[in-house]
């Protein structure tokens, strides 16, 4: 069997690229190192009877055009909404956001009538901002330094789009690109826990605190999925995030793509300045005129190919590209639901998220720990209980809890050890037990994943969940490097399609789709 294209890495972006190429009639082979596809979007039965979305755990950014083009619902994709976010407060009270905007406003009014009012206008502004960025997400980034007609056209299109926003929205967008989320939110709100909970979206996956300039962009990135105006339009995939990958994989197969697991690629084979195939760890060689890497930029440029064969400015740029993994994950198998002191008993809150973000200071202190090389003693946590939405994920009466934790720096003082991993897990459980006292005794099993574990298992360098930080200097035409942001590489026939390219980050699929479009346009 011969192939037109080999996709390295069966993460969701690689699978999207594979599906689009196969849909266009190409014979495609996807090679996945692990025994299952999905990359960081996998569901695994970590403990008997308990299935976890081991890494990435919620979804809202998946591009609607991909769902449509690949007919993902037909291939098993089912998104179940997350209904609320509850933030336990230090005074024993809580701050909740519900699916119904009116209910949310009433809840916020309980804490601050001014903020309740501001919520309406803020929601409208963020909606406009998300709409303003939307066309950019679907755009192959033009190179502003180039005078090629296609780049000039792209820049003109971008300029026209920016002008069409009008001055007020352009200014708001500029602020989001440059400010800290705490300052940005401070212009709208006064109630500190509300600012903290909203600003948490600005630090996820990023080595920044809520008061660090640049964090407001990450906030916007996470708002892109919230364009229907709900407080938090995030959802679960039935069966865990792995079922998203599986749906995309099935779509690709339905178009004729082949997926091989347990097939780790060691090197891309080149002949002159052309890619001609890959060689696996096993030594097996597979030929194809087109090779697409879904891995992050470091692996794509420094490991899969010989950097000596690449232009030095590209190699320098990739070496400088910031990964700095900052988050960990704790997955718990529970004998019973956690009982939160601020909202006792079992209720609708368990069908949503719990955010451990009682104040901006709390988040900032968590960041300070990481800045100096320690994991946060009292970390920020985003907690969901998928078994409440999809009972199939745990045995009857039992539950699975997914805890996204920040900060856990990849570069820990003295390095990560088994003891440090357990200490980190203890910090998470102890902190959470302060808010839900029955938690500790309800734990049947616990899986703790540090950035080093995330790197080892998923291959994401330094455990960065976005395949490279979403910092301003690493976005758009600079993602991953100037002149090489259009999915091509200096090696003919070798392309990139991972989240390390524009627009990157989250279960979005946009990088994979744009890469496929570019490849098809080039042929």
């Amino acid at each position: 069997m011969s192939y037109d294209a080999i996709i390295i890495g069966g993460g969701h972006n690689g699978l999207v690229t594979a599906a689009y190429l196969a849909r266009a009639g190409r014979r495609v082979l996807v090679l996945e190192r692990r025994h299952l596809i999905g990359g960081a979007a996998v569901s695994e039965e970590v403990f008997p009877g308990f299935t976890f979305s081991v890494f990435s755990y919620v979804v809202s950014l998946l591009r609607p055009e991909i769902i449509r083009d690949l007919d993902l619902p037909r291939h098993g994709l089912q998104i179940l909404p997350l209904e609320s976010t509850v933030t336990p407060l230090d005074n024993g009270d809580y701050l909740a956001g519900w699916a119904d905007p009116d209910q949310t406003r009433q809840e916020i009014a309980r804490h601050s009538p001014l903020d309740a009012e501001a919520t309406i206008e803020f929601g409208r502004m963020m909606h406009h901002m998300a709409m303003a960025v939307r066309p950019i997400l679907g755009m192959i980034p033009p190179d502003p330094t180039s005078l090629a007609p296609s780049d000039l056209r792209g820049m003109l299109k971008l300029g026209t789009h920016m002008r069409s926003l009008g001055a007020e929205r352009f200014h708001a967008l500029y602020k989001l690109m440059t400010m800290s989320s705490a300052d940005y939110l401070g212009e709208w709100f006064e109630f500190d826990p509300l600012k903290a909970t909203k600003s948490a979206s600005g630090i996820i996956g990023t080595f920044l605190g809520p008061r660090s300039p640049g964090s407001a962009y990450v906030l916007l990135h996470h708002y892109m999925g919230e364009i229907d105006g709900a407080f938090r339009a995030w959802g679960f995939a039935k069966g865990g995030t792995g079922s998203i990958s599986n749906a995309i994989g099935r779509a690709a197969e339905s178009f004729g793509a082949t997926i091989r697991t347990n097939a780790a690629v060691a090197k891309v084979l080149t002949q002159g300045d052309r890619a001609v195939g890959v060689v696996l760890d096993s030594g097996e060689e597979i030929k194809a005129p087109l090779v697409v890497s879904g891995l992050d930029p470091r692996r794509t440029f420094l490991e899969l190919v010989d950097p000596a064969a690449l232009p030095t400015d590209l190699v320098d740029a990739v070496r400088r590209f910031k990964f700095r993994g900052s988050s960990g994950k704790v997955n718990l198998a529970l004998s019973e639901l956690p009982n939160f002191t601020c909202m006792p008993g079992v209720g609708p809150q368990h069908r949503g998220a719990f955010s451990i973000s009682p104040s901006l200071d709390y988040l900032e202190r968590a960041y300070d720990d990481a800045k100096y090389g320690e994991f946060s003693r009292s970390p920020y946590m985003d907690i969901v209980i998928p078994s409440m939405i999809d009972p199939g994920m745990a045995p009857p009466g039992k539950h699975v809890m997914s805890i996204f934790v920040q900060y856990a720096p990849y570069h820990l003082n003295g390095g990560w050890t088994d003891a440090k991993r357990e200490a980190f897990g203890d910090a998470v459980v102890d902190t959470l037990t302060r808010y839900a006292p029955n938690l500790k005794s309800a734990i049947l099993h616990r899986q703790v994943l540090t950035p080093v574990d995330i790197e080892r298992i998923t291959g994401l360098s330094e455990g960065n969940i976005f395949a490279g930080e979403l910092a301003l200097q690493q976005l758009f035409f600079l993602r991953p490097a100037a002149a090489w942001a259009k999915y091509r590489t200096p090696i003919r026939g070798y392309y990139q399609c991972g989240a390390g390219t524009h627009p990157g980050g989250g279960i979005m699929g946009a990088s994979g789709r744009l890469a496929a479009l570019k490849i098809l346009a080039d042929q």
């Binding site: 502003p144 330094t145 920016m162 009008g166 001055a167 007020e168 352009f170 200014h171 500029y174 602020k175 690109m177 440059t178 400010m179 300052d183 212009e187 920044l208 605190g209 008061r211 660090s212 300039p213 640049g214 400015d313 400088r320 910031k322 200071d361 900032e364 300070d368 800045k371 100096y372 910092a471 301003l472 200097q473 600079l478 100037a482 002149a483």
Partner: protein
């Protein structure tokens, strides 16, 4: 007799605006609240016989375009011996000179790899800062331009960016939003060198070196550097600059008035009518050009009824966040210093030290171990102290204006002691020389110099508060929504550290507004 134009504030901005307008044939009255001119560059006799210019750590770069525009000779070439030094263990000094070769020569003793990297770094900074330089001698580009002539600015900006060449164009766009800590990690190894350069970047900011956008601040301070050189802040003599400006203002017929505090700008039907002084005197005028900060100018001097609530909201949201205290010290002599030294001592042993010093401000606290910068104004100006005696000015950062607990009137001595302790620990022989000291907290700086929150920048120089965002988005062209009212101080583009540029550009806007 024609109706005059009133300029408020007798600092360098006010003087430049007044001169520019008077030279264009306008009758100008310059109103200064205090007894003398110079604004933040005003000398203080803090102890009988001892004087200092506490706020003159960086009088700023004086663009030749502005000097020419107001008919002043170019400012004197910077003192070639000015340099930044930092103590290294064992009585040695790390030195940064304007001249890259001299710097590299010194660095070779401490870190050979860094010595090799320095000339390339300085040259790169100079070229990237050169891009900002072009932006700083014209009004900010208008992003809301809808007429062709308004778009010229944007097009010029694009052309200038392209003229940098591909590599440096990318580099400008890449580094500007970066944390200076990241930039320095790309270039250097020595913690001390990185600390000293990072301190230059965060001076007068309420940001640490790990905050995004602090590389912009480094470039901002390098605007005006010589090709291949590093601009040493504080290289220009502030007293000479103020004297030259006052003389020129007199020569071109500006009516200079001191002790004339403005209490109100009277507006009639969306047009300025007059200025009312604290004394009760009312002066009719055709325009008012205020060099005070935007908050004071717009929300305290003008009845807010004339402004859109959105504008008021935006002005209230300008971040000032002063975080600097100054300690003026009377000394019995100078501690041991490198031969021929003039300039500053930077006590920033590492990026981490600076970042920790900044962390305290996030929680409304004073740094336990602040960044301190030391100048000895008496090296160049022996007349600032009795014969044989000296003066040191300590710049102490971070001491936030907004304290969570306690107040500045109680913490004044704490800051003074802390700063002297930091200096005493690092500069042997200093403590024994201290005779007396006077501390200026951010609150004192606000009271004494009229700087809101004690911030010399009149609005923190961070990416979201520069160019078309300065002083507030949508109103960056100096003219305010009340006819005849203009802003001209550091709170407007290009902001603090660029002498007279805001004022010069505001004066052009006043003259253009009459057409």
């Amino acid at each position: 007799m024609s109706v005059p134009t009133i300029v408020i504030g007798g600092g360098t901005s006010g003087l430049v605006a007044a001169i520019a307008l008077a030279r264009a044939g306008t009758k100008v009255i310059l109103l200064e609240a205090g007894p003398g001119f110079g604004g933040v560059l005003r000398p203080i006799e803090f102890v009988p016989g001892y004087r200092a210019l506490p706020m003159a750590g960086d009088p700023g770069w004086f663009p030749p375009e502005v000097a020419r525009g107001i008919g002043l000779g170019l400012p004197e070439a910077r003192d070639p011996v000015a340099r930044i030094i930092a103590p290294v263990d064992g009585g040695e000094w790390l030195e940064i000179h304007a001249d890259a070769k001299a710097t590299a020569e010194n660095l070779r003793r401490h870190s050979p790899a860094d010595a090799d990297a320095w000339p390339g770094f300085a040259a790169r900074l100079h070229r990237l800062a050169g891009f900002l330089r072009t932006l700083y001698v014209s009004a900010p580009p208008r992003v809301d331009a809808d007429r062709l002539d308004e778009m010229v600015g944007l097009l010029k900006l694009g052309r200038k960016l392209r003229s940098l060449g591909r590599e440096e164009m990318v580099e400008v766009l890449r580094v500007v939003p970066m944390a200076v800590a990241e930039l320095l990690d790309e270039w250097f190894q020595s913690d001390l060198l990185k600390g000293v350069v990072a301190a230059d970047a965060v001076t007068d900011l309420c940001q640490g070196p790990c905050s995004g956008g602090t590389t912009f601040s480094l470039l901002h301070r390098q605007v005006g550097s010589d090709p291949g050189g590093y601009r040493i802040r504080g290289g220009t003599d502030p007293s000479a600059l103020v004297t030259a400006l006052v003389d020129q203002a007199r020569r071109v017929g500006v009516d200079l008035r001191t002790d004339a505090r403005v209490s109100r700008i009277a507006v009639d039907d969306y047009r300025v009518r007059s200025v009312v002084l604290a004394s009760g005197e009312e002066i009719d005028c055709q325009e008012v050009v205020s060099t005070l900060d935007p908050y004071r100018s717009l929300l305290e001097l003008v009845d807010p009824v004339w402004f859109d609530p959105a504008l008021i909201h935006a002005v209230r949201n300008i971040r000032y966040r002063g975080a600097v205290s100054k300690v003026m010290v009377a000394l019995d002599g100078l501690p041991p210093l490198p031969a021929g030294f003039d300039g500053r001592i930077a006590l920033a042993p590492s990026i981490r030290y600076l970042e920790r010093a900044y962390d305290a401000t996030k929680y409304g606290r004073l740094s336990d171990a602040p960044y301190v910068e030391v100048r000895f104004p008496t090296i160049a100006h022996t007349e600032f102290a009795p014969a044989g005696k000296h003066v040191a000015v300590l710049h102490v950062q971070f001491t936030p204006y907004h304290l969570r607990d306690g107040d500045w009137d109680q913490l004044r001595d704490t800051v003074g002691n802390l700063a002297l302790q930091v200096v005493g620990d690092r500069i042997p022989g200093f403590t024994e020389l201290v005779r007396d000291r006077v501390v200026l907290t951010p609150l004192d700086i606000e009271r004494d110099f009229g700087l809101r929150e004690g911030a010399v920048s009149q609005g923190e120089m961070m990416l979201d508060q520069i160019l078309f965002m300065r002083p507030i988005p949508g109103w960056s062209q100096y003219a305010m929504p009340v006819n005849g009212l203009y802003l001209a101080g550091s709170g407007t583009h290009p902001g603090g550290g660029i002498v007279g540029a805001s004022a010069w550009l505001a004066a052009q806007a006043v003259l253009g507004g009459r057409r």
